[in-house]
Amino acid sequence: MKKSFFLIMVCCLSIAASAKSIHWITFIDTTDPKVGLVDVNGRKFLYSQWINKVSAALAGEGYNQKVYDYYGTSTSPQNCKQAIQNFCCDSNDIVVFYYIGHGGRAVADQSKYPQMMLAQTIDDKCIPLTWVHNKLKGTGARLAVTIGMCCNSYDPSMSPKETIAFNANNGTASYTNSEMESIRRFFLENVGDVIISSSSVGQPSWAFDIPGMNAPMDIFTFRLVMDFNSYMRETSKPSWYTLIGRVATDVNNISLSRARAAQTPQYDINLVSANRPGKVKKKDIDIPDRKPINIDIKNIETATDEVSQAMTTVLDNIIDTNEALEARMRRAGILKNRFTSDAVVRTVAEDSKTVVDKMSVSDFFDIAATSKNYYKIIVLSVDTDDKGQFTGMRVREYVQK
């Protein structure tokens, strides 16, 4: 009896000491000849105006950001099945799945939610949104959110699915304190699950020209992000019901006026109020070695490779004002030594391409370790020379006050 009690205590301590994470799993079809460019805009907007911002807000509560960003040719049913089946997390973690692409429903589909095509048109390979949601709910995450932005129209060539019909192929990314606090409340003071699709049974999902963008964008993602941001600014007690209800109304109004057709997002919200998980002590992690790789800097929305994600986590510790200044400066010093003496850090704006500032890596880390103004610094890319030393870095900064 004593032995099993001791073992239970050890397990509990292990769980309590492990870091908390918000996992973002995005599958976005950016290569489709008809809607690829629409979805490129959707992806950039989603990451720059929502995903990274939410991660920045939660960083203050000790949440690391983990991103599984599938776009271009990596958007596929095989990758989606593999990603979801292999996904696991801790009990205090949050997972958000977001799909942008083609979808539809079979005439005989029982679920009101669509199937996702994931950049292909073979019926057998379509994945039901509900399958993803049920899998993610089953991981025991504190909060599981599944969002599908795709048509929910009837497609006679589709057959209903509750499970995946094919086998996985193992082959083939300036805010006020009150706004950020509202975001924390929204994500951390509710436990359970939420599933949302951008249109109701039998409806398509529309894209329109958005002022300021060089190509159309889907109205659901646009309204979700815009309504989320304005709602978080206006309320200190955010509610999922209020926000998603507002998004549904706005999307429907736009589709009725622009396309003269209804598009009504639908959702199921199963949440209960909860206290926030306690903060855990920061653990130091190592930045892995890496050989030089080619990076497409024009398409990076957030940290995805191992080195960038590790760097982002270490920076979370460096900017954490709950840590002693000596600890912050020590960590910054260790990280500085991984860079060449002439390395430069570039700060990238929310448009994901404009470099709005540059400074030496030494100055950058000195400021990161002493400033009290950061919510989060996300490392987008790290340049490496052939000796494995880091020669530069691109970051996005989320600054408070």
């Binding site: 929310e350 002493t370 103004n373 600054v399 006050k401």
Partner: protein, 224 residues
């Protein structure tokens, strides 16, 4: 002939004095936002440097980091301008200036920012509380081209200062300030890249702050 020369010269002067923009509207907005963020970092450091509850050693670390936000890191630098003939001229500056006011003095005082920040860490009060405008409420002017590949904008904010002795507020004021922000453009194979550094800080107006003003009211005043 003299008349034609005069007209041409006038047109040239007019063309140079108008804010010549090669930035798109979106780029300008991004740079204005970045400038406000840098000013927000500076005001954050000012608040930290003045806070007596932190050790002097820590506050001097903050000073050292804050200087990295400025042109020349607070040391001497060359300021570039375009004269009325379109020619680039260089003016040597001893360092970025921080202008200081006090209700106890009629005139404003200019300090090198590196000296100001050192003095701020050594103020003779038992406690000091400084608050400033939130970044979201800072006003930023349009960008103006001041030299080849160099733009300038001005960022406005308010700062409240309360000095305590033996737990009692003995001095309090609120000052409206403006900061010049220099934006340098560099051409690269991936397109233009920008560097933002802070320049001179000017005190515009100082008035007494009632020592009974609540913290919430102070914040409201700062963010107006």
């Amino acid at each position: 002939m003299k008349k034609i020369y005069f007209i041409l010269l006038s047109i040239l002067c007019l063309a140079v004095s108008v804010s010549a923009q090669s930035l798109t509207k979106e780029q300008e907005q991004l740079m204005q936002k970045r400038a406000a963020q840098k000013v927000g970092q500076l005001t954050g450091y000012i608040e930290s440097i003045a806070k007596k509850s932190e050790s002097l050693e820590y506050r001097l670390y903050y000073r050292s980091a804050a200087l990295k936000l400025f042109i020349g890191q607070g040391d001497a630098y060359d300021e570039l301008h375009i004269d009325s003939y379109g020619k680039s001229i260089k003016i040597e500056k001893a360092g970025v200036i921080m202008q200081v006011t006090s209700l106890n003095r009629k005139s404003k005082t200019d300090h090198l920012v590196k000296d100001y920040l050192r003095n701020l860490a050594n103020l003779r009060y038992s406690a000091v509380e400084i608050k400033t405008t939130d970044i979201a409420h800072m006003k930023v002017s349009k960008l103006q081209k001041v030299a080849a590949n160099t733009y300038k904008c001005v960022c406005y904010f308010k700062q409240s200062f309360v000095g305590y002795r033996e737990g009692r507020p003995v001095y309090s004021d609120i000052t409206e300030k403006k900061v010049e922000c220099l934006i340098y453009e560099e051409s690269t194979i991936d397109g233009p890249e920008y560097i933002v550094r802070l320049g001179d800080v000017t005190a515009l107006e100082t008035r007494r702050l009632n020592s009974n003003t609540s913290a919430d009211d102070i914040i409201n005043i700062l963010n107006q």
